[in-house]
Symmetry: C2
Subunit: 492 residues, 2 copies
């Protein structure tokens, strides 16, 4: 989920200075329009220690008119607060229609800390998240716009930041609490990821902001606020039902994102490849039998660009397993019967029983890839799908399945080269120019869809593996290796 | 929650025969229209043992065309089913667009049994309910109409029914399981009540059907199906957001309901009243101090007809307590500032801290009473409010508060008599004729609103007490007594 926020993105001082004035003017403008509107805005500022949440709050205040914006910081509960139900303090902080509240710390803070420090169990944590979702739903039903910001730093980046702070002028300011939290980076990451996943819904999504560079972070925040408030101002509340604010501009605002981080030039020579393939094939053969005996089954999803080598990778995996232990499902267009049901129905329908491996050549992710990009699903539909898919996979994992998800990534150039190669090799000629141009035109849309997909569905329980695919040998080994590692982990 | 389903309602054979043909024709007609529609219908048949769920399924089939309706009974899980996540069996049973599935037993069955038999804890039970809600939301988002029927029998009625069955022709058919479940009537009632409360949402509400009389039960089911499917056919899916089917006809279909069961002729003579008032006053004085010392606080809501004696009842309670320990809040129209927030905001705002008693003369229930009847809240808003209020009160109770809710009930005649009395007594004359006529005209609407309110918000943790108020003395003692009993129970 945090993959797209560890790419080391930066904004230069020059660029920042160039873009800031427009952003500032834009924010003042939406704030003026908001004053007449019949809904409030709640901005939640949360994220890892050291990500500069205080700086974010300052810059929001710098950009906005002080009339009509208020910040509430939630420290330890006061006596007054402890004497009332937990949400009392948050109700007190809710802004009236037409104004903005910035919540520095929020209803997420305590549950995440409690869970990361193991003061509460998962069931209780989940109940608290459910209450949060209920609470947010209620506010959104009533018209509120909730903008949820999560500021992220990688583990390395956080360590660096805290160290620098300790040495620098903020020396005295690092609290023992911050230190103790930063020591538990991994626990916090897992728990936060769960909190975000379970509360990331179409009508109040999370925005994960990479925070290694303050200028980048602040610009991003400004853009998110501008886009979301503008979109909400332009969409009046319908007479019934919940307002889901589409934010097409927001989709475009970002960078292609997570795919940028894939080291496409990774490769193996033939000799290394052969050696590794043999090693992992032997291993996988044994692991697959052991998994079968222990009734653990595997669901492996293969997605990727056309010609990225999905078929080849799948064949290497199945080649290493006893033929009785796997099934490959190629997902094509849905049948009429399937179309008459919820889009997940056909995947539930063919769900494997325990003890087997099912490899999907394309999958339920079609909903947020091809159906999104080609417009087969409406925005409200594919937006909902992230959460629906996470819940689906959660049920698989709870049932003891191992869920593997591979995105086979190749560059646009490599893809073109492979198309051309096929054109020469295959008897039936590809209409390569048409296809090629079509793909190139759509590539950017698909990259955005892939990036959103990974951010929203790469979870602690079912992470995505982004496979560098320009070198087919490297890609296949990467898939085999991941398969073995995940199975080994599941077998304990 | 089940109060309105224990009123002993019956339909005569004559009435049944008169009404059945229209219902039958109507159902065939909506079914024909449904065939062309782009949504499926899921009918959930659930409820207590002995309520005749099998009979309901039969009658539905009798009334409907066999093409396009299918029943799925969920018994013990098969091997095939156990090898997959729990919801697999339900996904398999989902109907395609244009058709109907009747689920005899459903995703509610196992969690309720598991919890009633204490095989799982509350946290786990709640997580399962959350998953159910998520699942139903997903189907509704996709267009499905879910009709959830709960067939209810009182404890006495159930015992009678099972005994009759045992003696009668069905002698051999009562399973040991049924017998063992019926022995745990109270546990099942509590657990079911929780399940219904947590999954009763505006877009897929529960219908609780009194089942003591088979003809009444079957007619009711027919009417519910007819109304809900018709309403859904007439409201096409909006381009975004969830479809909430308003069912005004359904509101009118029923009987005034739960208030019919209040024994309005209960009374005390002056001597008995004095004696009881002294006794409970002494008791309450002590209990209030003990509660204060143990930091338990009480939230008591007083609602009722105009002139039903709310003020008098409140004064008797406060008269029995140390003045430092209570506060009376009269809820009038909201201020401008309050109007600019969610309607619950003003109640959160004034939430008492621990160790005190707060008595509300009218309350948050205004949302589903006056605001509903007078049209100050839109249907979608007051429909949502039941669930929001339940969640609000749940948070109070979890924080250790005791929530008491009184509806002071008087007959229309008694109300008129009191108005006239006041007219004679008070200097400033009431415009009694206007008021009177207005009240009489609205009485039926209010009765319906009260009945819905009690059904949907009388919960295990915060039950309504319906107080017979034609005799003021009786009403006051009833309030005092309930206050003492609930406080005693809370103090253990």
């Amino acid at each position: 989920m945090f993959e797209a926020a560890e790419l080391g993105r930066k904004v230069s001082k020059h660029e920042f200075d160039e873009r800031e004035p427009d952003l500032h003017a834009g924010l003042l403008n939406v704030q003026r329009r908001l004053r007449e509107a019949d809904f409030p805005v709640v901005i939640i500022v949360s994220g890892v220690e050291g990500a500069g949440k205080g700086g974010v709050v300052s810059v929001i205040h710098k950009w906005m008119d002080a009339r009509g914006i208020e910040t509430h910081a939630f420290w330890d509960e006061t006596d007054e607060e402890r004497m009332r139900p937990r949400f009392w303090r948050f109700w007190r902080a809710l802004p009236p229609k037409g104004s903005i509240a910035v919540l520095f710390g929020s209803w997420y803070t305590q549950p995440i800390i409690d869970r990361a420090l193991k003061n509460i169990k998962t069931d209780k944590f989940d109940r608290q998240l459910e209450r949060i979702r209920h609470f947010e739903d209620m506010l959104v039903d009533d018209g509120a716009l909730i903008i949820k910001l999560w500021f992220h730093l990688s583990k390395k980046e956080q360590a660096k930041r805290l160290e620098a702070d300790a040495k620098g002028k903020k020396g005295g300011k690092i609290s023992p609490l911050t230190k103790s939290f930063s020591k538990r980076y991994d626990e916090f990451a897992l728990v936060s990821e769960r909190a975000l996943r379970k509360t990331d819904v179409a009508h109040s999504p999370w925005h994960i902001v990479e925070s290694g560079n303050a200028r980048y972070r602040n610009l991003k925040v400004g853009q998110i606020l501008l886009e979301r408030i503008t979109a909400r101002l332009e969409q009046p509340a319908p007479s019934s039902g919940r307002v889901t604010v589409p934010s097409p501009a927001l989709q475009k605002m970002g960078e292609p994102g997570v795919l940028d981080g894939v080291p496409l030039d990774s490769q193996y020579n033939e000799k290394t490849y052969r050696k590794l393939l043999d090693r992992y094939s032997d291993k996988l053969y044994k692991l697959a039998w052991e998994a079968h005996n222990r009734r653990i089954n595997t669901v492996a999803v293969f997605e990727g660009w056309d010609a990225a080598g999905k078929g080849g990778a799948i064949r290497r995996v199945t080649g290493a397993m006893d033929a009785r232990l796997y099934r490959v499902i190629s997902v094509a267009a849905p049948t009429d019967e399937e179309k008459a049901h919820h889009y997940l129905w056909r995947f539930w329908r063919h769900l494997p029983r325990a003890g087997y491996n099912t490899l999907y050549d394309r999958s339920w992710y079609g909903r947020v890839l091809v159906e999104r990009v080609e417009g087969f699903a409406r925005e409200i539909e594919w937006q909902r799908a992230y959460n629906e898919i996470n819940s689906f996979e959660e049920q698989l994992v709870e049932h003891g399945m191992v869920v593997l998800k591979f995105w086979l990534h190749i560059s646009a150039e490599e893809q073109l080269r492979r198309f051309k190669e096929r054109e020469q090799v295959e008897v039936k000629q590809y209409k390569i120019t048409d296809e090629d141009w079509r793909n190139r035109a759509r590539r950017e849309d698909y990259e955005r869809a892939v990036s959103d997909m990974v951010v929203k569905t790469s979870t602690e329980i079912a992470p995505w593996t982004l496979v560098p695919g320009n070198d087919k040998r490297y890609a296949r080994i990467e898939v085999m290796k991941t398969f073995c590692e995940r199975l080994e982990a599941a077998l304990g």
